[in-house]
Subunit: 159 residues, 2 copies
């Protein structure tokens, strides 16, 4: 099934990492493009990823960091940006005076609804392209990988 390329390149590129990269980029491009067409000009790749980690009633910043597997500073900057765009707001955590609860604003919630619809639409497209079984196999394998994979660093700093 490996596509032979026309020239002298052989199957150098046919490794799983390349395929994953392409697939990830493709998905995000489709998603972001659709969101922008729907009027959410502020929408970008990383913001999409972050937004998916915020629950309807808000989520502590620390949890978002934990789950995304990137540095806390990266997460902070993303939230800063989305706060400036009036998509997210940071509220004090009643249980921990250090903490902040991150929550959608109204504008953010509207975007969230569109995002959900678009995500579903893309998934339907994928399902159609791959067939139900292959799609489920894909998801299944990815879930298995994610569950085992070494967690991202987390930006451990000084101290």
């Amino acid at each position: 099934m490996v596509k032979r390329l026309d020239e002298n390149s052989g199957d150098l590129i046919d490794h799983i990492g390349w395929r994953l990269w392409q697939a990830s980029r493709g998905w995000h491009k489709e998603f972001v493009d659709a969101m922008r067409e729907a009027g959410h000009e502020w929408f970008t790749d990383a913001r999409a990823t972050l937004l998916a980690h915020i629950a309807p009633h808000g989520t502590p910043q620390s949890r978002i960091i934990e789950r995304m597997g990137i540095s806390k500073q990266a997460v902070q900057q993303l939230i800063d940006g989305l706060e400036a765009e009036d998509i997210l707001q940071r509220l004090p955590d009643p249980n921990d005076r250090r903490g902040r609860i991150v929550r959608h604003t109204e504008k953010g919630q509207a975007a969230l609804r569109d995002a959900d619809a678009i995500k579903r639409r893309i998934e339907v497209g994928y399902r159609k392209q791959l067939g139900k079984e292959r799609f489920e196999a894909l998801r299944n394998a990815l879930v298995a990988l994610n569950d085992i994979a070494p967690k991202g660093n987390g930006g451990k700093t000084s101290g």
Copy 2:
């Protein structure tokens, strides 16, 4: 099979895009880390991707651009960097005076050998984690996606 998260977040994040992103990041992190440990300090994510597109006897720059699905400027900059590190060299294309053939230097070829070994090692690990069938299903689905997916822009400029 969807993992319920402990708190109030539900399964917001369990969409295919997120899974793809995680998997892609995980793979690349593993790859780059291994290469650096093997003494290739100059190794990075995007460079890894690019390097995989260069055939043993060289590949025209234009083909690399075509295949990677990112802008020609991005590819150029990556090659610039690798040229400065003495990993790649640009030779004139005998068939087209506009063109350039991109080829590994000796140092580049040594790196390539290590890279191939590491890629195989990672793949073996994945195969072990997922089981043979699930791994093949994953690859299969990704190939199907990549073959259909809309090609990346290509940095069409003025004109």
